[in-house]
Protein backbone atom coordinates (compact mmCIF):
# COMPACT_ATOMS: atom_id res chain seq x y z
CA UNK A 1 0.00 0.00 0.00
CA UNK A 2 1.34 3.39 -0.86
CA UNK A 3 0.70 6.68 0.86
CA UNK A 4 -0.84 8.14 -2.31
CA UNK A 5 -3.51 5.45 -2.32
CA UNK A 6 -4.42 6.19 1.26
CA UNK A 7 -4.58 9.91 0.64
CA UNK A 8 -6.76 9.32 -2.39
CA UNK A 9 -9.08 7.12 -0.36
CA UNK A 10 -9.41 9.78 2.33
CA UNK A 11 -10.10 12.49 -0.21
CA UNK A 12 -12.82 10.40 -1.79
CA UNK A 13 -14.48 9.92 1.56
CA UNK A 14 -14.18 13.41 2.91
CA UNK A 15 -13.57 15.76 0.01
CA UNK A 16 -12.99 19.27 1.25
CA UNK A 17 -13.49 18.31 4.86
CA UNK A 18 -10.04 16.74 4.91
CA UNK A 19 -8.17 19.84 5.98
CA UNK A 20 -4.49 20.58 5.40
CA UNK A 21 -3.55 17.13 4.15
CA UNK A 22 0.17 16.54 3.98
CA UNK A 23 1.93 13.47 2.66
CA UNK A 24 5.47 12.83 3.79
CA UNK A 25 7.61 10.08 2.38
CA UNK A 26 11.08 9.19 3.44
CA UNK A 27 13.58 6.57 2.47
CA UNK A 28 14.92 4.09 4.95
CA UNK A 29 17.52 1.38 4.75
CA UNK A 30 21.17 1.19 3.86
CA UNK A 31 21.76 -0.54 0.54
CA UNK A 32 18.17 -1.58 0.02
CA UNK A 33 16.13 1.60 0.12
CA UNK A 34 12.48 1.49 0.85
CA UNK A 35 10.02 4.32 0.90
CA UNK A 36 7.65 4.68 3.79
CA UNK A 37 4.87 7.16 4.05
CA UNK A 38 2.95 9.21 6.55
CA UNK A 39 -0.15 11.27 6.12
CA UNK A 40 -0.95 14.18 8.39
CA UNK A 41 -4.33 15.85 8.18
CA UNK A 42 -6.97 17.60 10.20
CA UNK A 43 -10.59 16.59 10.39
CA UNK A 44 -13.63 17.70 12.31
CA UNK A 45 -14.99 15.50 15.06
CA UNK A 46 -18.17 14.81 13.09
CA UNK A 47 -16.15 13.21 10.32
CA UNK A 48 -14.25 10.84 12.56
CA UNK A 49 -16.42 7.76 12.14
CA UNK A 50 -16.68 8.19 8.40
CA UNK A 51 -12.90 8.50 8.19
CA UNK A 52 -12.33 5.33 10.18
CA UNK A 53 -14.73 3.48 7.89
CA UNK A 54 -12.84 4.74 4.86
CA UNK A 55 -9.53 3.64 6.36
CA UNK A 56 -10.91 0.20 7.13
CA UNK A 57 -11.85 -0.22 3.50
CA UNK A 58 -8.32 0.59 2.42
CA UNK A 59 -6.66 -2.15 4.39
CA UNK A 60 -6.29 -3.87 7.76
CA UNK A 61 -6.50 -1.06 10.30
CA UNK A 62 -4.57 -0.72 13.52
CA UNK A 63 -4.75 2.12 15.97
CA UNK A 64 -1.40 2.73 17.57
CA UNK A 65 -2.34 5.44 20.04
CA UNK A 66 -4.21 8.69 20.47
CA UNK A 67 -1.91 11.43 21.64
CA UNK A 68 -3.22 14.67 22.93
CA UNK A 69 -2.49 17.99 24.42
CA UNK A 70 -4.26 21.19 25.17
CA UNK A 71 -3.53 24.38 23.30
CA UNK A 72 -5.00 27.42 25.06
CA UNK A 73 -8.75 26.85 25.07
CA UNK A 74 -8.84 23.82 22.84
CA UNK A 75 -7.90 20.20 23.30
CA UNK A 76 -6.10 18.67 20.37
CA UNK A 77 -6.17 14.94 19.85
CA UNK A 78 -4.05 13.17 17.26
CA UNK A 79 -5.17 9.73 16.20
CA UNK A 80 -2.22 7.66 15.02
CA UNK A 81 -3.53 4.94 12.74
CA UNK A 82 -1.54 2.40 10.78
CA UNK A 83 -3.17 1.07 7.61
CA UNK A 84 -2.18 -2.00 5.70
CA UNK A 85 -0.05 -4.30 7.80
CA UNK A 86 0.88 -7.66 6.40
CA UNK A 87 2.92 -6.68 3.36
CA UNK A 88 6.52 -5.73 3.34
CA UNK A 89 6.96 -2.03 3.76
CA UNK A 90 3.32 -1.60 3.01
CA UNK A 91 2.01 0.11 6.09
CA UNK A 92 1.15 3.80 6.01
CA UNK A 93 0.86 5.87 9.18
CA UNK A 94 -2.18 8.14 9.12
CA UNK A 95 -2.17 10.88 11.74
CA UNK A 96 -5.41 12.78 12.13
CA UNK A 97 -5.73 15.87 14.24
CA UNK A 98 -9.04 16.69 15.87
CA UNK A 99 -9.52 19.83 17.86
CA UNK A 100 -12.35 20.34 20.33
CA UNK A 101 -13.11 23.26 22.59
CA UNK A 102 -12.52 22.79 26.31
CA UNK A 103 -16.04 23.98 26.96
CA UNK A 104 -17.42 21.03 25.00
CA UNK A 105 -14.75 18.32 24.91
CA UNK A 106 -16.85 15.61 23.31
CA UNK A 107 -15.68 13.29 20.56
CA UNK A 108 -17.47 10.28 19.12
CA UNK A 109 -15.95 6.99 20.21
CA UNK A 110 -14.61 4.72 17.48
CA UNK A 111 -14.99 1.57 19.58
CA UNK A 112 -17.94 0.41 17.53
CA UNK A 113 -15.67 0.22 14.47
CA UNK A 114 -12.40 -0.65 16.18
CA UNK A 115 -12.89 -2.18 19.63
CA UNK A 116 -9.19 -2.04 20.34
CA UNK A 117 -9.36 1.72 20.72
CA UNK A 118 -11.02 1.49 24.10
CA UNK A 119 -7.84 1.54 26.16
CA UNK A 120 -6.49 4.64 24.55
CA UNK A 121 -9.82 6.47 24.68
CA UNK A 122 -10.19 5.72 28.38
CA UNK A 123 -6.73 7.10 28.98
CA UNK A 124 -7.70 10.39 27.34
CA UNK A 125 -10.75 10.66 29.53
CA UNK A 126 -8.69 10.67 32.66
CA UNK A 127 -5.64 12.54 31.47
CA UNK A 128 -7.24 15.26 29.39
CA UNK A 129 -10.88 15.35 30.37
CA UNK A 130 -12.21 14.43 26.94
CA UNK A 131 -15.57 12.68 26.77
CA UNK A 132 -16.18 9.95 24.21
CA UNK A 133 -19.73 9.42 23.05
CA UNK A 134 -20.68 5.80 22.85
CA UNK A 135 -17.68 4.31 24.59
CA UNK A 136 -18.60 1.00 26.26
CA UNK A 137 -16.59 1.66 29.39
CA UNK A 138 -15.56 5.07 30.58
CA UNK A 139 -14.05 4.24 33.94
CA UNK A 140 -10.62 5.45 34.83
CA UNK A 141 -7.88 3.10 33.81
CA UNK A 142 -4.63 4.28 35.28
CA UNK A 143 -5.50 7.02 37.71
CA UNK A 144 -7.64 6.89 40.87
CA UNK A 145 -11.35 7.34 40.35
CA UNK A 146 -11.37 10.37 42.56
CA UNK A 147 -8.43 12.14 40.99
CA UNK A 148 -9.73 15.58 40.38
CA UNK A 149 -7.12 16.85 37.99
CA UNK A 150 -6.18 16.11 34.43
CA UNK A 151 -2.39 15.69 34.49
CA UNK A 152 -1.68 16.53 30.88
CA UNK A 153 -3.45 19.79 30.80
CA UNK A 154 -1.13 22.73 30.93
CA UNK A 155 -3.57 24.93 32.77
CA UNK A 156 -4.44 22.75 35.72
CA UNK A 157 -3.99 24.89 38.82
CA UNK A 158 -4.53 22.05 41.29
CA UNK A 159 -1.95 19.78 39.77
CA UNK A 160 0.81 21.36 41.79
CA UNK A 161 -0.79 20.06 44.96
CA UNK A 162 -0.19 16.51 43.83
CA UNK A 163 3.40 16.91 42.83
CA UNK A 164 5.77 16.06 45.60
CA UNK A 165 9.29 17.12 45.92
CA UNK A 166 10.73 14.04 47.34
CA UNK A 167 14.35 14.69 48.04
CA UNK A 168 16.13 17.58 49.71
CA UNK A 169 17.91 19.06 46.75
CA UNK A 170 14.62 19.57 45.01
CA UNK A 171 13.17 21.47 47.90
CA UNK A 172 16.17 23.74 47.80
CA UNK A 173 15.64 24.14 44.09
CA UNK A 174 12.56 26.20 44.81
CA UNK A 175 10.06 23.40 45.15
CA UNK A 176 7.89 22.87 48.14
CA UNK A 177 7.39 19.69 50.00
CA UNK A 178 3.76 18.83 50.22
CA UNK A 179 2.99 16.23 52.80
Amino acid sequence: MRAEEVLEGLRRALGERLRSPRMVTEEVGHRVRRERGYIWAEIGRDDLLRTVEALKELGPLHISIISGTDVEDRIELIYHFAVGYGTEGGEVMVNLRISVPKSDPVVPSICSLLPGAETTEREKIEFLGVKFQGIPDSRHLFLPDDMGVHPWRKDEPDLKKYVRYTVEWEAQDGGEDKA
Binding site: H30, R31, S64, E91, R139, L143
Partner: protein
Protein backbone atom coordinates in the same frame (compact mmCIF):
# COMPACT_ATOMS: atom_id res chain seq x y z
CA UNK B 1 -10.49 4.43 50.36
CA UNK B 2 -12.36 1.26 49.44
CA UNK B 3 -15.66 1.80 47.74
CA UNK B 4 -17.94 -0.74 46.23
CA UNK B 5 -18.89 0.03 42.66
CA UNK B 6 -20.86 -1.95 40.21
CA UNK B 7 -18.75 -2.59 37.14
CA UNK B 8 -20.33 -2.35 33.75
CA UNK B 9 -20.99 -5.58 31.92
CA UNK B 10 -18.31 -6.77 29.58
CA UNK B 11 -18.67 -9.02 26.60
CA UNK B 12 -22.46 -8.76 26.70
CA UNK B 13 -22.74 -11.40 29.39
CA UNK B 14 -24.74 -11.23 32.52
CA UNK B 15 -23.63 -13.91 34.94
CA UNK B 16 -26.84 -13.54 36.88
CA UNK B 17 -25.19 -12.90 40.22
CA UNK B 18 -24.61 -9.66 41.98
CA UNK B 19 -21.01 -8.77 41.58
CA UNK B 20 -19.11 -6.29 43.59
CA UNK B 21 -15.68 -5.00 43.16
CA UNK B 22 -13.48 -3.34 45.69
CA UNK B 23 -11.07 -0.99 44.00
CA UNK B 24 -7.82 -0.58 45.80
CA UNK B 25 -6.42 2.08 43.61
CA UNK B 26 -5.26 3.05 40.20
CA UNK B 27 -2.19 1.89 38.61
CA UNK B 28 -0.34 2.54 35.46
CA UNK B 29 2.03 0.08 34.08
CA UNK B 30 3.32 2.07 31.13
CA UNK B 31 3.86 -1.58 31.16
CA UNK B 32 4.23 -3.29 34.42
CA UNK B 33 3.21 -5.22 37.39
CA UNK B 34 0.44 -4.85 39.79
CA UNK B 35 -2.59 -5.33 37.63
CA UNK B 36 -5.74 -6.22 39.49
CA UNK B 37 -8.08 -8.77 38.01
CA UNK B 38 -11.61 -9.56 39.04
CA UNK B 39 -13.02 -12.83 37.77
CA UNK B 40 -16.63 -13.93 37.90
CA UNK B 41 -16.65 -17.70 37.99
CA UNK B 42 -19.20 -20.45 37.72
CA UNK B 43 -17.83 -23.65 39.13
CA UNK B 44 -14.27 -23.75 37.90
CA UNK B 45 -14.79 -21.69 34.74
CA UNK B 46 -14.28 -18.00 34.28
CA UNK B 47 -17.31 -16.30 32.81
CA UNK B 48 -16.33 -12.67 32.94
CA UNK B 49 -13.24 -10.72 33.73
CA UNK B 50 -12.44 -7.16 34.61
CA UNK B 51 -8.94 -5.82 34.42
CA UNK B 52 -7.81 -2.73 36.18
CA UNK B 53 -4.17 -1.89 35.59
CA UNK B 54 -2.08 0.53 37.41
CA UNK B 55 -0.15 0.27 40.66
CA UNK B 56 2.96 1.35 38.90
CA UNK B 57 1.87 4.61 37.32
CA UNK B 58 4.74 7.01 37.75
CA UNK B 59 3.61 9.81 35.46
CA UNK B 60 6.47 9.30 33.03
CA UNK B 61 5.08 11.51 30.31
CA UNK B 62 4.34 14.25 32.82
CA UNK B 63 7.91 14.11 34.12
CA UNK B 64 9.32 13.97 30.63
CA UNK B 65 7.59 17.14 29.58
CA UNK B 66 9.55 19.05 32.20
CA UNK B 67 13.06 17.90 31.38
CA UNK B 68 15.49 18.33 28.57
CA UNK B 69 15.64 15.73 25.86
CA UNK B 70 18.77 13.99 27.09
CA UNK B 71 17.17 13.49 30.49
CA UNK B 72 14.07 12.22 28.74
CA UNK B 73 16.20 9.57 27.05
CA UNK B 74 17.38 8.25 30.40
CA UNK B 75 13.85 8.34 31.70
CA UNK B 76 12.59 6.45 28.65
CA UNK B 77 15.09 3.69 29.29
CA UNK B 78 13.64 3.08 32.70
CA UNK B 79 10.06 2.75 31.64
CA UNK B 80 10.73 -0.96 31.54
CA UNK B 81 13.77 -2.88 32.60
CA UNK B 82 13.16 -5.87 30.40
CA UNK B 83 12.69 -4.17 27.08
CA UNK B 84 14.80 -1.30 28.18
CA UNK B 85 16.27 -0.36 24.82
CA UNK B 86 12.98 -0.49 22.94
CA UNK B 87 11.70 2.76 24.31
CA UNK B 88 14.85 4.74 23.56
CA UNK B 89 14.93 3.23 20.06
CA UNK B 90 11.43 4.55 19.36
CA UNK B 91 12.12 7.87 21.06
CA UNK B 92 15.29 8.62 19.11
CA UNK B 93 13.44 7.95 15.87
CA UNK B 94 10.65 10.32 16.86
CA UNK B 95 13.04 13.11 17.80
CA UNK B 96 15.19 12.58 14.73
CA UNK B 97 12.16 13.00 12.52
CA UNK B 98 10.97 16.05 14.46
CA UNK B 99 14.37 17.73 14.53
CA UNK B 100 15.66 16.58 11.16
CA UNK B 101 18.71 14.68 12.37
CA UNK B 102 20.47 12.20 10.10
CA UNK B 103 21.93 8.96 11.39
CA UNK B 104 25.04 7.28 9.94
CA UNK B 105 24.55 3.71 8.66
CA UNK B 106 26.89 2.03 11.12
CA UNK B 107 24.83 3.40 13.98
CA UNK B 108 21.67 1.97 12.45
CA UNK B 109 23.24 -1.48 12.32
CA UNK B 110 24.39 -1.23 15.91
CA UNK B 111 20.90 -0.19 16.97
CA UNK B 112 19.48 -3.26 15.26
CA UNK B 113 22.02 -5.52 16.93
CA UNK B 114 21.23 -4.22 20.40
CA UNK B 115 17.50 -4.46 19.73
CA UNK B 116 17.78 -8.05 18.61
CA UNK B 117 20.02 -9.03 21.52
CA UNK B 118 17.37 -7.62 23.79
CA UNK B 119 14.73 -9.66 22.02
CA UNK B 120 16.66 -12.85 22.71
CA UNK B 121 17.08 -12.06 26.38
CA UNK B 122 13.46 -11.03 26.78
CA UNK B 123 12.00 -14.10 25.08
CA UNK B 124 14.19 -16.42 27.12
CA UNK B 125 13.14 -14.60 30.26
CA UNK B 126 9.52 -15.05 29.30
CA UNK B 127 10.00 -18.73 28.53
CA UNK B 128 11.40 -19.24 32.01
CA UNK B 129 8.55 -17.36 33.61
CA UNK B 130 5.97 -19.32 31.61
CA UNK B 131 7.61 -22.55 32.75
CA UNK B 132 7.40 -21.30 36.34
CA UNK B 133 3.72 -20.47 36.00
CA UNK B 134 3.10 -24.02 34.81
CA UNK B 135 5.13 -25.54 37.60
CA UNK B 136 8.26 -26.56 35.73
CA UNK B 137 10.81 -24.89 37.93
CA UNK B 138 13.70 -26.92 36.56
CA UNK B 139 12.96 -25.49 33.17
CA UNK B 140 12.88 -21.97 34.67
CA UNK B 141 16.36 -22.42 36.10
CA UNK B 142 17.66 -23.99 32.91
CA UNK B 143 16.38 -21.22 30.68
CA UNK B 144 17.59 -18.43 32.94
CA UNK B 145 21.01 -20.02 33.11
CA UNK B 146 21.01 -20.23 29.32
CA UNK B 147 20.07 -16.57 29.15
CA UNK B 148 23.26 -15.43 30.87
CA UNK B 149 25.54 -15.46 27.76
CA UNK B 150 23.41 -12.89 25.97
CA UNK B 151 23.55 -10.65 29.03
CA UNK B 152 27.32 -11.07 29.05
CA UNK B 153 27.51 -9.92 25.45
CA UNK B 154 25.28 -6.96 26.20
CA UNK B 155 27.57 -6.07 29.05
CA UNK B 156 30.56 -6.45 26.77
CA UNK B 157 29.04 -4.08 24.26
CA UNK B 158 27.40 -1.52 26.46
CA UNK B 159 28.72 -1.90 29.97
CA UNK B 160 25.56 -3.02 31.71
CA UNK B 161 23.37 -6.10 31.73
CA UNK B 162 20.20 -4.03 31.75
CA UNK B 163 19.69 -0.38 30.77
CA UNK B 164 22.34 -0.16 28.09
CA UNK B 165 22.18 3.56 27.30
CA UNK B 166 23.23 2.88 23.72
CA UNK B 167 20.90 4.94 21.53
CA UNK B 168 21.24 8.70 21.36
CA UNK B 169 19.76 11.24 18.98
CA UNK B 170 21.86 11.00 15.86
CA UNK B 171 23.38 7.58 16.43
CA UNK B 172 24.66 5.38 19.20
CA UNK B 173 26.95 6.16 22.07
CA UNK B 174 29.30 3.21 21.82
CA UNK B 175 30.74 1.34 18.93
CA UNK B 176 31.01 -2.41 18.59
CA UNK B 177 34.68 -2.63 17.58
CA UNK B 178 35.71 -5.53 15.32
CA UNK B 179 37.71 -7.03 18.19
CA UNK B 180 34.43 -7.90 19.85
CA UNK B 181 32.91 -9.68 16.87
CA UNK B 182 34.42 -13.09 17.74
CA UNK B 183 32.80 -13.00 21.18
CA UNK B 184 29.42 -12.17 19.69
CA UNK B 185 29.78 -14.93 17.11
CA UNK B 186 30.73 -17.36 19.88
CA UNK B 187 27.51 -16.50 21.65
CA UNK B 188 25.51 -17.02 18.46
CA UNK B 189 27.10 -20.44 17.99
CA UNK B 190 26.27 -21.35 21.58
CA UNK B 191 22.61 -20.49 21.09
CA UNK B 192 22.31 -22.21 17.75
CA UNK B 193 23.53 -25.36 19.44
CA UNK B 194 20.79 -25.04 22.03
CA UNK B 195 17.87 -24.36 19.71
CA UNK B 196 16.93 -28.02 19.31
CA UNK B 197 16.98 -28.56 23.05
CA UNK B 198 14.81 -25.54 23.71
CA UNK B 199 12.31 -26.60 21.07
CA UNK B 200 12.22 -30.10 22.53
CA UNK B 201 11.75 -28.97 26.10
CA UNK B 202 8.97 -26.55 25.35
CA UNK B 203 7.19 -27.80 22.28
CA UNK B 204 7.54 -31.54 22.38
CA UNK B 205 6.79 -32.06 26.04
CA UNK B 206 3.38 -33.68 26.39
CA UNK B 207 2.55 -32.02 29.69
CA UNK B 208 3.31 -28.52 28.41
CA UNK B 209 1.28 -29.29 25.34
CA UNK B 210 -1.59 -30.54 27.46
CA UNK B 211 -1.50 -27.41 29.62
CA UNK B 212 -1.26 -24.91 26.77
CA UNK B 213 -3.09 -26.32 23.76
CA UNK B 214 -6.52 -24.76 23.46
CA UNK B 215 -5.90 -22.50 26.43
CA UNK B 216 -6.28 -18.75 26.21
CA UNK B 217 -7.39 -18.68 22.60
CA UNK B 218 -7.46 -15.41 20.69
CA UNK B 219 -8.89 -15.80 17.20
CA UNK B 220 -7.49 -13.91 14.24
CA UNK B 221 -10.64 -11.78 13.93
CA UNK B 222 -10.47 -10.82 17.58
CA UNK B 223 -6.77 -10.02 17.34
CA UNK B 224 -7.40 -7.79 14.34
CA UNK B 225 -10.37 -5.94 15.83
CA UNK B 226 -8.72 -5.47 19.20
CA UNK B 227 -5.46 -4.27 17.64
CA UNK B 228 -3.22 -6.89 19.26
CA UNK B 229 0.48 -6.48 18.65
CA UNK B 230 3.62 -8.53 18.83
CA UNK B 231 3.87 -12.28 19.35
CA UNK B 232 0.32 -12.25 20.71
CA UNK B 233 -1.00 -11.09 17.34
CA UNK B 234 1.34 -13.30 15.34
CA UNK B 235 0.37 -16.38 17.31
CA UNK B 236 -3.19 -15.77 16.18
CA UNK B 237 -2.04 -15.78 12.59
CA UNK B 238 -1.74 -12.06 11.83
CA UNK B 239 1.39 -11.22 9.91
CA UNK B 240 1.91 -8.02 11.81
CA UNK B 241 5.43 -6.89 12.65
CA UNK B 242 6.68 -3.31 12.60
CA UNK B 243 10.04 -4.49 11.22
CA UNK B 244 8.23 -5.85 8.21
CA UNK B 245 5.34 -3.43 7.75
CA UNK B 246 6.92 -0.07 8.43
CA UNK B 247 10.63 -0.64 8.15
CA UNK B 248 13.10 1.50 10.02
CA UNK B 249 16.85 1.48 10.73
CA UNK B 250 18.29 -1.10 8.31
CA UNK B 251 15.48 -3.62 8.42
CA UNK B 252 14.78 -3.18 4.69
CA UNK B 253 18.20 -4.71 4.05
CA UNK B 254 17.53 -7.56 6.44
CA UNK B 255 14.16 -8.57 4.97
CA UNK B 256 12.58 -9.48 8.25
CA UNK B 257 9.23 -11.22 7.96
CA UNK B 258 6.56 -11.66 10.62
CA UNK B 259 6.62 -15.21 11.97
CA UNK B 260 3.50 -17.20 12.70
CA UNK B 261 3.10 -20.86 13.75
CA UNK B 262 2.57 -21.69 10.07
CA UNK B 263 6.27 -21.09 9.59
CA UNK B 264 6.88 -24.17 11.67
CA UNK B 265 4.31 -26.16 9.76
CA UNK B 266 1.69 -25.91 12.48
CA UNK B 267 -1.94 -24.99 12.16
CA UNK B 268 -2.68 -21.65 13.77
CA UNK B 269 -4.93 -21.88 16.79
CA UNK B 270 -4.07 -18.70 18.66
CA UNK B 271 -3.55 -20.40 22.01
CA UNK B 272 -0.76 -20.22 24.59
CA UNK B 273 1.14 -23.00 22.81
CA UNK B 274 1.25 -20.93 19.64
CA UNK B 275 2.63 -18.00 21.57
CA UNK B 276 5.47 -20.16 22.86
CA UNK B 277 6.12 -21.30 19.28
CA UNK B 278 6.28 -17.77 17.92
CA UNK B 279 8.63 -16.54 20.62
CA UNK B 280 11.06 -19.43 20.20
CA UNK B 281 11.03 -18.98 16.42
CA UNK B 282 11.79 -15.30 16.93
CA UNK B 283 14.84 -16.13 19.02
CA UNK B 284 16.20 -18.07 16.06
CA UNK B 285 15.29 -15.23 13.71
CA UNK B 286 17.16 -12.77 15.92
CA UNK B 287 20.28 -14.93 15.83
CA UNK B 288 20.18 -14.78 12.03
CA UNK B 289 19.64 -11.04 12.02
CA UNK B 290 22.57 -10.36 14.33
CA UNK B 291 24.83 -12.52 12.21
CA UNK B 292 23.87 -10.67 9.05
CA UNK B 293 24.40 -7.33 10.74
CA UNK B 294 27.90 -8.23 11.80
CA UNK B 295 28.73 -9.22 8.24
CA UNK B 296 27.15 -6.26 6.48
CA UNK B 297 27.92 -3.45 8.90
CA UNK B 298 29.90 -0.72 7.16
CA UNK B 299 32.70 1.24 8.72
CA UNK B 300 32.08 4.78 9.64
CA UNK B 301 30.92 7.14 12.33
CA UNK B 302 28.53 6.13 15.01
CA UNK B 303 26.81 9.42 15.58
CA UNK B 304 26.21 12.66 13.74
CA UNK B 305 26.53 14.74 16.89
CA UNK B 306 29.61 13.61 18.80
CA UNK B 307 29.32 16.47 21.25
CA UNK B 308 26.29 16.39 23.49
CA UNK B 309 26.30 20.15 23.99
CA UNK B 310 25.99 20.69 20.25
CA UNK B 311 23.17 18.17 20.16
CA UNK B 312 21.29 19.92 22.93
CA UNK B 313 21.73 23.27 21.19
CA UNK B 314 20.37 21.83 17.95
CA UNK B 315 17.43 20.27 19.74
CA UNK B 316 16.59 23.49 21.48
CA UNK B 317 16.17 25.21 18.12
CA UNK B 318 14.22 22.35 16.61
CA UNK B 319 10.58 22.60 15.81
CA UNK B 320 8.35 19.85 14.55
CA UNK B 321 6.64 16.65 15.45
CA UNK B 322 7.67 13.08 14.87
CA UNK B 323 6.71 9.50 15.41
CA UNK B 324 9.02 6.64 16.17
CA UNK B 325 8.04 2.99 16.14
CA UNK B 326 9.91 -0.14 17.08
CA UNK B 327 9.09 -3.80 17.34
CA UNK B 328 9.89 -4.54 20.96
CA UNK B 329 9.90 -8.14 22.19
CA UNK B 330 6.30 -7.65 23.26
CA UNK B 331 5.03 -5.79 20.25
CA UNK B 332 4.81 -2.33 18.82
CA UNK B 333 6.23 0.58 20.76
CA UNK B 334 5.36 4.04 19.50
CA UNK B 335 6.52 7.41 20.72
CA UNK B 336 5.19 10.75 19.59
CA UNK B 337 7.15 13.91 20.25
CA UNK B 338 6.40 17.52 19.54
CA UNK B 339 9.20 20.04 19.83
CA UNK B 340 8.90 23.79 19.88
CA UNK B 341 11.80 26.11 19.17
CA UNK B 342 13.23 27.65 22.28
CA UNK B 343 11.96 24.97 24.64
CA UNK B 344 14.31 22.35 26.00
CA UNK B 345 11.55 20.03 27.07
CA UNK B 346 9.27 18.35 24.57
CA UNK B 347 5.91 20.07 24.52
CA UNK B 348 4.10 16.79 23.98
CA UNK B 349 5.51 13.34 24.62
CA UNK B 350 3.30 10.33 24.25
CA UNK B 351 4.48 6.83 24.94
CA UNK B 352 2.75 3.64 24.06
CA UNK B 353 4.13 0.40 25.33
CA UNK B 354 3.09 -2.87 23.72
CA UNK B 355 1.24 -4.31 26.69
CA UNK B 356 -1.09 -1.33 26.43
CA UNK B 357 -2.30 -2.61 23.06
CA UNK B 358 -2.55 -6.14 24.38
CA UNK B 359 -4.81 -5.21 27.29
CA UNK B 360 -8.03 -5.51 25.27
CA UNK B 361 -7.07 -8.91 23.81
CA UNK B 362 -6.79 -10.22 27.36
CA UNK B 363 -10.55 -10.17 27.78
CA UNK B 364 -11.49 -12.80 25.20
CA UNK B 365 -8.52 -14.92 26.23
CA UNK B 366 -9.94 -15.52 29.69
CA UNK B 367 -13.35 -16.57 28.43
CA UNK B 368 -14.34 -20.01 29.72
CA UNK B 369 -10.93 -20.77 31.11
CA UNK B 370 -10.33 -22.71 34.29
CA UNK B 371 -9.17 -20.85 37.36
CA UNK B 372 -6.01 -22.96 37.39
CA UNK B 373 -5.16 -21.62 33.93
CA UNK B 374 -5.36 -17.99 34.95
CA UNK B 375 -1.60 -17.59 35.63
CA UNK B 376 -0.47 -18.98 32.30
CA UNK B 377 -3.09 -17.11 30.27
CA UNK B 378 -2.17 -13.87 31.98
CA UNK B 379 1.51 -14.53 31.39
CA UNK B 380 1.07 -15.51 27.76
CA UNK B 381 0.94 -11.97 26.45
CA UNK B 382 4.20 -11.34 28.29
CA UNK B 383 3.11 -8.44 30.47
CA UNK B 384 6.51 -7.89 32.00
CA UNK B 385 7.17 -10.38 34.77
CA UNK B 386 3.77 -11.83 35.21
CA UNK B 387 2.27 -8.84 36.72
CA UNK B 388 -0.62 -10.48 38.37
CA UNK B 389 -0.48 -9.11 41.79
CA UNK B 390 -3.78 -10.16 43.20
CA UNK B 391 -6.89 -11.59 41.67
CA UNK B 392 -10.41 -11.24 42.91
CA UNK B 393 -12.61 -14.19 42.27
CA UNK B 394 -16.34 -13.69 42.51
CA UNK B 395 -18.18 -16.94 42.88
CA UNK B 396 -21.93 -17.05 43.41
CA UNK B 397 -21.89 -13.49 44.57
CA UNK B 398 -19.30 -14.18 47.21
CA UNK B 399 -15.92 -12.58 46.82
CA UNK B 400 -12.66 -14.27 47.49
CA UNK B 401 -9.27 -12.84 47.04
CA UNK B 402 -6.70 -15.26 45.80
CA UNK B 403 -3.15 -14.18 46.02
CA UNK B 404 -0.71 -14.91 43.27
CA UNK B 405 0.78 -17.69 45.37
CA UNK B 406 -2.56 -19.44 45.66
CA UNK B 407 -3.28 -19.14 41.95
CA UNK B 408 0.14 -20.52 41.15
CA UNK B 409 -0.48 -23.47 43.44
CA UNK B 410 -3.71 -24.22 41.57
CA UNK B 411 -1.80 -24.08 38.32
CA UNK B 412 0.94 -26.39 39.56
CA UNK B 413 -1.57 -28.87 40.92
CA UNK B 414 -3.27 -29.01 37.56
CA UNK B 415 0.06 -29.83 35.94
CA UNK B 416 0.66 -32.61 38.45
CA UNK B 417 -2.73 -34.07 37.71
CA UNK B 418 -1.97 -34.09 34.01
CA UNK B 419 1.53 -35.46 34.33
CA UNK B 420 0.06 -38.16 36.53
Amino acid sequence: MAEKTRPEARQGENPGTTCFQVPIGPIHPALKEGIRFTFWVEGERVRKVDIRPGFMHRGIEFMGMQRNLIQVLYLAERICGICSVSHPLALVQAVEVAAGIEVPPRAQYIRVIVGELERIHSHLLWAGVAAHELGFDTLLHYVWKVREPVLDILEEISGNRIDYAMPIYGGVRRDIPPEKYPKVKEMLRYYRGLVDDLLNFFLRDPSIEARTRGVGVLTAEEADALCAVGPTARASGLRKDVRQDWPYFVYPDLEVKALTPEDMGLEVRGDVYDRIVVRLLEVVQSLDIIERCLEEMPEGEITSFPKVAALLAHLKKAEGEGIGRHEAPRGEVIHYVRLVAGEEAPVVWKVKAPTYSNLMPWYPMFRDQEIADIPIVAASIDPCICCMDRAHIVRKGREEVLTKEELLKLSWEKTRRIVG
